[in-house]
Amino acid sequence: MVVRVQTEDFDTGAEIARMRLMNPGIGAVVAFVGQVRDVNEGSLVHTLTLEHYPGMTEKALAAIIDRAKMRWTIQDALIIHRVGTLQPLDQIVLVVVVGSHRSECFAACEFIMDYLKTEAPFWKKETTPGGARWVEARGSDEAARSRWEN
């Protein structure tokens, strides 16, 4: 398992390649990449600044992967999440899940994103032509997470 919270950008292709080549017995890799949109809720986005809770954030991400591994038969998972000030089209987050069964990898990757969005301590503030504003949590993210609580 790899969890990284960093200001630097990451190399999605290299991370995916490393995950699959480290696991020669598996056939399936599912990856999620989040990017900064150029427009959010109708406003141009100039910058997006991500704040986190050092220590807790890393623990929360590792706990989410642990939970995914208990629930699905997957081989390994990685989360990289950026913090600091980003520009539109910058990468924010990468999740990679590798395993033998693609349906389990898809489910685990989506599960990780849904829990990351609702339980990992990150907060976004964006600057727009109208000024700076904290991004509000969305009910749709909460609803996405609660689907998994069966």
Binding site: G34, L50, E51, H52, Y53, G55, M56, K59, A60, H81, I92, V93, M113, L116, K117, T118, E119, A120, P121, F122, W123, K124, K125, W134, V135, E136, A137, D141
Partner: protein, 87 residues
């Protein structure tokens, strides 16, 4: 065991309070997160505005998300923050 309580504030809450962290002695009669929030709200002003329950606040004790009924004691790290928006 008179260790202080360390309290952290993040994001919009940190800005509204003008404070990122503080250390206090565990106040008399405060035994859980709800109790600490009521005690902070009693400071009045922005503290009252943020901790009176009108705005959503999440809490963590020792870096784990908790409910308001979670116990706290001296030496704990307690964090308050708005609902998270990563990803």
């Amino acid at each position: 065991m008179n260790q202080p309580l360390r309290i952290l504030y993040f994001a919009r809450l940190r800005e509204a309070l003008g404070t990122a962290s503080e250390e206090i002695a565990l106040p008399d009669g405060v035994g859980d997160v709800d109790g600490l929030m009521a005690w902070l709200a009693a400071r009045g002003g922005v503290w009252q505005a943020e901790f009176s329950g009108s705005r959503p606040i999440r809490a963590a004790v020792n870096q784990a998300l908790v409910q308001g009924t979670a116990r706290i004691q001296g030496g704990d790290e307690v964090a308050f923050f708005p609902p998270v928006t990563g990803g």
